[in-house]
Amino acid sequence: MHNGEKTPLIRLAKRESMPAAAQWGIRIAAILLALVVGGLVILISGNNPVQGYATIVEGALGKTSGIRQTVKNFIPLLGAALAIAPCFKMRFWNIGAEGQITAGAMCATYFALFWADRLPQVPLLLIMCAAGAVGGGIWALIPAFFKARWGTNETLFTLMMNYIIIGVVKWLQGGPWEKIPRGSQQIEQFASNACLPRVAGVYCGWIIVLVLTVLMFLYMRYTKHGYEIAVIGESENTARYAGMNVGWIIMRTMFLSGAIAGIVGFLLVSGANNTLYSGVANNAGFTAITVAWLAQLNPFAMVGISALLAVLQKGADTLNTQMSIPVSLSDVITGVLLFFMLGCEFFINYRLIFRGAEERQARKEAAKS
């Protein structure tokens, strides 16, 4: 088209595929770009960007106590991402991990509060873990049942379920489970036998989520269940044609997903907080969505992404303390980084063609030959 004026300035074209090296190149470029933009944010806040980033890294990884805090942030992120992975693989948009974590935490707390005097530590913890799994599982099963039965919208349903369970915990906190003397809106700190032991300074939840990572990988890759989930994710019709009971598989997978989220809830109450409150999930259920997507549902990649986000979370906190950068600005930096990371996937899948670029390219090739 000679009439260059009328050619669109930028066009999008889908890429067929891209060598892995180039893909990583784009990802690294995206992160670098994100760091530059984030640096501008720090600069605007009146601080030195380099020093800012140094503070983030040092705050998160510099001291033993910092690393512990980072690991503490890391556990629920990875756990929740693992929980939602099978659902997302199935294209069942479970954004209710937040609520499922809370439900699991609540059920585990019941045993921590009322059975701690009757049971020794190991059986008590096992029962709490099981209660968490069942609680989270059932909370996830409800929307799955409605979806399988009546085709309700799982996105809205799971989202709404979050608010319900958070409300219930709020009520318990200020009502029947409130500690004495009343008025604190807090639940008693757990007895020591209801608390997970520490390993290397952090509660042992990190070992549990790492084990779960391996199990989830095996489950998704090598089991019949994992296979069924993958088929349904690609096409429900195909699954039906293959004789799969789609509704049953949806419910089973959601139960599993909720159960893992519930175990995360158990880890949080028993390990991290030693008590229950309505904000126990602390947005991990939502951030996990980002983690899962960035990791492209690969459990091992989730370890890396969760670790990165945990570092950012802790680093942002330190940035706030040390350099008086408001937490909201630290959140902006994290947001920028995530945005670029998600956005770069777009450039991996599509390419931009600028006006005239192809003609130049063609001329170049012609000149070569």
Binding site: M1, E16, Y222, V231, E234, T238, Y241, G243
Partner: protein, 527 residues
């Protein structure tokens, strides 16, 4: 005016990633002529036309309308130049009337006058011989009526270059004739018409010129009067091809399936199958014909256990003891085993297999994002004991199929999405055949395939038939059904309107059955 160039393309090139869909294509469409754009699926016909109608933007090349170079960036630009395209998938609003759909999206000043629009629609209809009621709602229309609306819509906007993408794919032979008559009227009126097709007899019957594309390249344009189907096929495929389909006789013919009074409803309560009864025999290909959506899919699904059956029965009889497939499957009652009420896995174990190629090819029989290995075990993965899947057997099967069916793929680990249409269908049909079925049901197995691959698939079906398998084939192309099938069952509105002998029937007879229950006989008597 007649005979002058309406639209000219020079060196048009379009790439999708590394795939060159159109490679420097030249084309000249003249006024008062019908040009057939002929080519196999994937040869780039639709892509080329989409560039003229403003849906895609060419990477290289020039477009001239009335001798002047133009830039077409959107369908709106195309309309402004008098170019209108009728797509395979109609873009109509169901709850609007014909007239409303026709004027929809037009920019007008002041109050919109639906009545004068209706008058103009009538004028256009009368001029070219369309049969349309402007006030009829789209949801009440047949496929052919909807197509008419699409064509009028384009004419209403003043198009005098019309592009029709596979317009006859969804029509009965009778409707096709009507459409051709209209197109001839439009040609007489001086319009330039391009029809995209891969059906040779239509090319011969309708067009003045034929332009042939092969694998994205322009092969040449010939005058229809100076060519013949064999020559066109050679241009299309690139080498000589035999156009005859075999119809061998099997050694054993025995009753395999007996369907009695089968009735199904969709989830809105509408009957999709209405008292369907027929028999299928081993050693026979039973073709199922009918206009799209007459219950073909539902029939196969009902037999395979994938549809809820409201009434009726499907009885299965085991194969002839001397046939190749005897003894492969669970022995069943000689007096016939009821399949209704069994789940899909049980029915498959009996030996009834279903290979359905949906419109988008992938999505029902195969999982596009998975590799061949994972697709091989789609229906058998449960048979392995324990919680884990076994990928050894399916891998072996995949490797064998690649060899036996000459499937072109980089390897067993390539997602089937990356495979070309023909290879995808070979994977699907190959897997079904590998389960040594006694009843092989397949729908649209050659949908979108090139001629060569189609013949491979026909060969596979014949092979099965000779083994004693009862083959049930739902097809789109009547010509193929007539050549391949031993008997043809015609569905119309979920009812069996007739079962005819493939060797003794005509296209017209089947066409009449397609539109009228029992109408075929009356019409035959009238004739």
């Amino acid at each position: 005016m007649e005979g002058t160039s309406a639209i000219q393309l020079k060196g048009i090139t379009k790439r999708f990633g590394s795939v060159v869909a159109n490679d420097h294509i030249d084309l000249d469409v003249k006024r008062g002529q019908i040009l057939s754009l002929l080519g196999e699926n994937g040869s780039g016909k639709t892509t080329l036309m989409n560039m003229i109608s403003g849906i895609y933007f060419p990477d290289e090349g020039h477009i001239f309308v009335e001798g002047k170079e133009v830039t077409i960036r959107s369908p709106k630009d195309a309309y402004a130049l008098g170019i209108g395209m009728i797509h395979q998938h109609f873009k109509l609003v169901d709850v609007f009337t014909a007239a409303e759909n026709i004027v929809l999206g037009l920019e007008g000043k002041g109050r919109f006058d639906i009545r004068s629009a209706g008058r103009r629609v009538k004028e256009i209809s009368e001029k070219y011989g369309f049969d349309i009621d402007p006030d009829k709602k789209v949801y009440d229309m047949s496929v052919s009526e909807k197509q008419t609306v699409e064509i009028i819509k384009v004419l209403y906007r003043g198009a005098d270059i019309l592009i029709l993408d596979e317009p006859t794919a969804v029509l009965t032979p009778q409707e096709t004739e009507k459409l051709f008559a209209v197109l001839r009227n439009m040609r007489a009126d001086g319009k330039a018409i391009v029809i995209i097709t891969h059906k040779l007899h239509e090319v011969m019957a309708l067009s003045d010129q034929v332009a042939v594309l092969r694998k994205g390249r322009y092969i040449g344009t010939v005058n229809t009067a100076e060519t013949n189907p064999q020559a066109l096929t050679e241009m299309m495929v690139g080498r000589a091809v035999s156009l005859n389909i075999d119809r061998p006789e099997a050694k054993y013919k025995d009753l395999r399936l007996e369907v009695k009074g089968l009735t199904c409803r969709d989830h809105e309560g509408v009957k999709t199958l209405d008292d369907v009864s027929f028999q299928a025999f081993g050693g026979e290909i039973l073709g199922i014909a009918g206009i799209a959506g007459s219950g073909q899919k539902e029939l196969l699904e009902a037999i395979a256990g994938l549809q809820h059956v409201e009434a009726g029965s499907v009885l299965y009889y085991p194969p002839h003891p001397n046939s190749d497939i005897a003894g492969y499957h669970v022995p069943v009652d000689r007096n016939g085993e009821e399949l209704v009420g069994k789940n899909p896995t049980q029915i498959r174990k009996v030996g009834v297999s279903l290979a359905f190629v949906p419109e988008d090819r992938l999505g029902m029989g195969l999982v596009a994002g998975m590799d061949m290995v994972d697709n091989m075990m789609l229906k058998t993965y449960r048979e392995h004991k324990g919680p884990f899947v076994d990928r050894k057997a399916p891998r072996a099967l995949a490797e064998r199929l690649i060899e036996e069916l000459e499937i072109v793929t980089p390897g067993v680990s390539t997602p089937v999405r990356r495979l070309s249409g023909g290879n995808v269908q070979k994977v699907l049909v190959g897997r079904e055949i590998d389960s040594t079925p006694t009843v092989l049901m397949t729908a649209y197995p050659v949908r979108g395939l090139d001629i060569n691959s189609s013949y491979t698939i026909y060969g596979l079906l014949n092979q099965q038939k000779l083994k004693g398998v009862a083959v049930i084939l739902v097809g789109e192309d009547l010509d193929v059904l007539l050549e391949l099938c031993d008997r043809i069952l015609v569905l119309c509105g979920g009812k069996v309107s007739g079962i005819v002998d493939g060797r003794g029937t005509t296209k017209e007879e089947v066409g009449l059955y397609m539109t009228h229950v029992g109408g075929g006989k009356e019409a035959a008597q009238d004739a």
